[in-house]
């Protein structure tokens, strides 16, 4: 009897102390089984040779896959360069254009903000495959709108996605169209939540609008800017749909970013061991870059510990 009550009391305490666990455990268990477990599996697989369509199972390869990727595979190197170029090009242009658009809209939108926002939001939530289709239609050398406009201006038609020189910038332009509104939307929200007092003080002190931007807007907006950068950088590495629809990585390998290269190794050549090693290299690169950005954010109190 006495013992029973003690056990009951013990469980009651246990329940009070660990009740958070009952709420949290299902989600964490799901994520472990569909993310951590597969990643561990692919880490193991990356030390093996395994071609799924050839006879024979796994054969131990040690660090050969990684050595080949880092020191011998010329395609990896070209794909790495394409990735960096793509990332730097799209994110910087999106950021610059998005900031300009946000600053413009912040000046004029107050009355018609609902309509303008809706338009701005469209490309962001549109199905990316459909964005790819739209731009494939625009770029079409025979009937596309872009060549039609060029012909107005007296230029000869361009085979946008069909030539190594223009294919990558074409894909990047579609990406910029798709994601500049995202940057603009977030920065516009950031601008509209800024306090008014510093601006009034600057006005009293006779600051020029450029000075106001540099010394007030820019520092106050920097948390929102970093959030935008983080999200764009990590999503940029994932670009797949646009490339699949527009160029399939070609012509040659001119638009093949690491993401696409890994996909092709795994699901076109079926070298699953090598593709796993590639995916781990990609994962490490993404993690390092994102960690740097997140540390910068956390030092400003965003995505950080509870206060």
């Amino acid at each position: 009897m006495e013992l029973g009550r003690k056990v009951g009391h013990f469980f009651c305490l246990l329940k009070r102390k660990y009740v958070w666990l009952f709420f949290l455990a299902p989600a964490v268990a799901v994520l472990i089984s569909i993310v951590v477990f597969p990643l561990a599996f692919s880490l193991i697989l990356s030390f093996y040779d395994w071609n799924i369509i050839r006879a024979g199972g796994w054969s131990w390869a040690g660090i050969n896959n990684y050595r080949t990727i880092l020191f011998q595979d010329p395609y990896f190197r070209s794909s790495f360069k394409v990735t960096l170029f793509y990332l730097a090009g799209t994110v910087s242009v999106q950021f610059g254009l998005g900031l300009v658009v946000a600053l413009i809209l912040d000046q004029i939108t107050r009355k018609i903000i609902g309509f303008l926002r809706t338009v701005l939001v469209l490309p962001i939530t549109m199905t990316p495959v459909v964005v790819g289709i739209i731009w494939r239609l625009m770029y079409n050398p025979d009937l596309g709108m872009l060549n039609y406009f060029l012909s107005w201006l007296g230029f000869s038609p361009v085979n946008w996605t069909g030539m190594p020189g223009t294919a990558l910038p074409s894909v990047m332009m579609a990406d910029i169209w798709e994601w500049t509104p995202f940057v603009a939307l977030i920065l516009l929200a950031g601008l509209q939540s800024l306090p008014r007092e510093p601006y009034e003080a600057a006005l009293v002190d006779g600051a020029s609008s450029w000075q106001t931007f540099c010394y007030i807007t820019f520092p106050l907006l920097s948390p929102a800017m970093l959030v935008v950068l983080l999200i764009r950088v990590m999503d940029s590495f994932k670009t797949f749909d646009l490339i699949f629809v527009l160029t399939q990585g070609g012509p040659g390998m001119s638009t093949e970013i690491l993401n696409y290269y890994t996909y092709r190794y795994g699901f076109k050549f079926f070298h699953l061991g090598y593709a796993s090693a590639l995916s781990w290299v990609l994962l490490v690169v993404v993690t390092i870059i994102c960690m740097i950005l997140i540390r910068m954010l956390q030092s400003r109190g965003i995505y950080a510990k509870r206060t």
Binding site: L31, T127, V129, I133, L143
Partner: protein, 277 residues
Amino acid sequence: MMNEVVWVKVKKTILVAMAVVVFVVILFPPMVLFLTSIKTELDALSFPPKWIFQPTLENYEHIFQFSPFMKYLLNSLIVASLNTGAVLILGSLAAYSLARFRFRGADNIAFWILSVRMMPPVAAIIPIYIIMRNLHLLDTPWSLVIIYLTFNLPFAVWLMRSFFREIPREIEESALVDGCSDFSAFRKIALPLAAPGLAATGILTFIFSWNEFLFALILTGSKAVTLPVGITGYMKETGINWGYMTAGGVLALIPVIIFTILVQKHLVKGLTMGAVK
């Protein structure tokens, strides 16, 4: 004085003109998609493009009658709805735990969940393909319902956590004092109060599932093909049928556009997972 007034007016006009340019650039490409979808094949292929033509719905009729478009649509609906349901249940519980209870490691767990959202899907797709093959789940909606949790669940946990944090803690505390259990405090008080935020989370989750392409491309083959994969099927080696492809694209966009307008108020918060309001 006069000059200043004129200058302000000129500045305003320039700003409005620039904004108009931005919106034309955004709206023009989707408009071309829509116009192409209601052209006959002959009109669609004419160059220079025809601006005045007899609109037709034959492309839409054709994809429903002669291609499994209805099946793609149903598959997308099933996958996106079931995934959203699972995300809302698992996500709201976890988000509530991270927002309300104090325990060691809470911040590390939240951060780990965020880092899952950063993972490029390609990094996990090979083992996931092998696992799904061994479980005989390839080419079923279930594989996608499960796998879409990898990106939607972390997103939802972070977003809902920020919504739960906005509810004053005192209401639940007084309920707990009155003898309410933790779970009923969650279900009867926190959940209804956070309902608008949770609805927004659900709608965004639905959109992300609806739009997903890479996993659907690899994990489905014929029976469970979703819309984005189905539409790219109109790109053949022999050429693209622009009428079918654009009609499919327009139909895929309709629910997305409706949902986006519904969720607009929460979109900035949603897209940044609660970091920017």
